[in-house]
Symmetry: C2
Subunit: 338 residues, 2 copies
């Protein structure tokens, strides 16, 4: 690759002069300026953006660390975040940890503050103290979808009221007349879907139909796990008329399991999800789900990260998105007659 | 962020000594070494990887430029490429162009050779001469899924025999007894799905059932476009018994359209896709498709890129993956009786 000094040599000037011309700084005579630009063109020199960013104490990209790029929600979020970053003249690079904290740590070590001067964290399963270390080293960190607006973390975050999302799903099913549910929770008991389940259970209890824990399964957040758990649950508890899933992927798996067991969604069993990914609209029947404001959360995450980088925001700080909203489609109906 | 010179100051040594200690080069006494390491720990200094990489003429990441991260095939490819990169001690950053050549060009300008020292291009809709310029500037470029093994491009590539993929789909439908097809092509007539369609049309002709072009639609590579085009095609050509789609997304849209028109897949109309994305398995009925070797193509792309970076490969060069393979699921059957 051509270097600044090669350009300087060809133009017969110092490297500092080349730099001044390219950055439109300092006083450089028109003839010299032209000689430098000719040399740049002749050698195909490109100013070394990273080097320049380093010299200016500023890196040109933002990083988004996601736990699983194969989970279709994350590319949807990444797309929205990338658009927001570009609106602010920044590039977004996406780093995938495959749910492995060691890989996440390696990304933070290698990228934060060097390749990128700020990091968005999307459920990357990284210990909070690792993330705080990254912040202390000078690379701001934003948690993109914090699940507990009533319990802010020690890091800046965009929060979504997932407790309410769970409650909305429950109230929808209760309103249709359902009383006997099964629940699929796409994380560990204390994991990232715990709030959604708490919201669901709380709304059931409030309505006088407390949800018995033996009809709850803690599973992976995948179509396949939702499929398997639904098969088991419906065999053990044939009286169930509706399935609450903490996320769209297990909900889609539940619908397939019900169909493969020879039953009909929603006539025999209703199913609800949370998030509203593309496949919720595309599936047949289309999935009734509680939409979270993905695009707004992505935009707010980018804007908070930039405010932190430019020291326009205190840290920690929490911004909460608009409330989740029910999207009623074809996977829910009144319960079957006994 | 702490700098090398701050560490040097605290340790009472020169910057060069700090650098030597951190890189385990040069001769440094044990006492001095310990003093430097203490200062590093005390100040939380991290060696500046990008700066070091630049100094060594080596950047730490590879970039994958994709046209649309929201198309579920690309995250699946990205996941496989990222795993392969990490097996070689590299990080993969994903850059999304949103099908906009200007954004792609901006990524190439900003990232190639600075943030990344090599670029994988996945259908990013970038003019070949732009890509060659990137290569000439010293950042090798690999086209990840070249569609025409019999016509190598001027850049290094991994090729997949997509003509054969189209022919496999056609032969499967012909073998079931279908003779009257509609075709959904997820690109422009001369676009990236042209070879798949050529393979399909060629196999039809060979079997004595040439495909009339009025039953072909050139559409966007999305579920929605496949849906709309199928509605139109089946209204105009009710005699059609099978739909060939050049990709899984339009095929999934076709299945929804057929169901929403009150017909049954595969009893009334059979549907085939190409690629075998996750949703081909998850959809109901599950989609019969021609699987392309995504994971192998991703791994081969990373390995070729590294060989080019390390000057172990000539350029241009083309490697061809194993052949695509039919995956027979529930969306195809013998044609309905007239």
């Amino acid at each position: 690759m051509t270097t600044l000094s090669e350009v300087a040599r060809l133009a017969g000037v110092t490297s500092a002069t080349v730099s001044n011309v390219l950055r439109q700084r300092g006083k450089v005579g028109e003839q010299t300026r032209q000689r430098v630009l000719d040399a740049v063109a002749q050698l195909g020199y490109r100013p070394h953006l990273t080097a320049r960013a380093l010299a200016e104490g500023r890196a040109p990209t933002l990083a988004l660390v996601v736990s699983s790029i194969a989970n279709p929600f994350y590319p949807e979020f990444a797309l929205a975040a990338e658009r927001a970053a570009r609106d602010h003249g920044r590039f977004l690079i996406v780093c995938n940890t495959n749910d492995d904290p060691d890989i996440g740590r390696a990304y933070l070590d290698q990228i934060a503050g060097t390749l990128s001067d700020g990091v968005l964290i999307m459920n990357a399963n990284l210990p909070m103290d690792e993330l705080r270390k990254t912040e202390q080293r000078g690379a701001p960190v934003v948690l993109c979808m914090w699940e507990k607006p009533d319990a802010p973390p020690e890091l800046p975050c965009i929060a979504v009221d997932f407790f309410e999302a769970g409650a909305i799903a429950a109230r929808h099913l209760l309103g249709l007349g359902h009383q006997c549910f099964a629940a699929l929770v796409g994380s560990k008991k204390s994991g990232i879907h715990a709030e959604r389940y708490r919201g669901f259970a709380s709304a059931c209890k409030e309505a006088g139909h407390p949800h018995p824990t033996q009809r709850t399964r803690y599973i992976n957040d995948t179509v396949e796990s939702g499929y398997r758990a639904t098969m088991e649950l419906l065999r053990e508890h044939p009286q169930v008329t509706a399935i609450f899933a903490s996320n769209d992927l297990p909900a889609l798996g539940a619908m397939n399991a019900i169909a493969d067991m020879g039953m009909n969604v929603p006539r025999d069993v209703s199913v609800t999800g949370i998030t509203d990914i593309q496949w919720a609209r595309v599936s047949r029947p289309a999935l009734t789900t509680v939409a979270v404001p993905t695009e707004a959360a992505a935009r707010m995450s980018i804007e908070l990260l930039l405010a932190l980088i430019e020291r326009r925001s205190p840290s920690p700080v929490m911004h909460v998105t608009a409330a989740p909203q029910l999207v009623e489609r074809a996977s829910t109906a009144v319960p079957r007659k006994r």
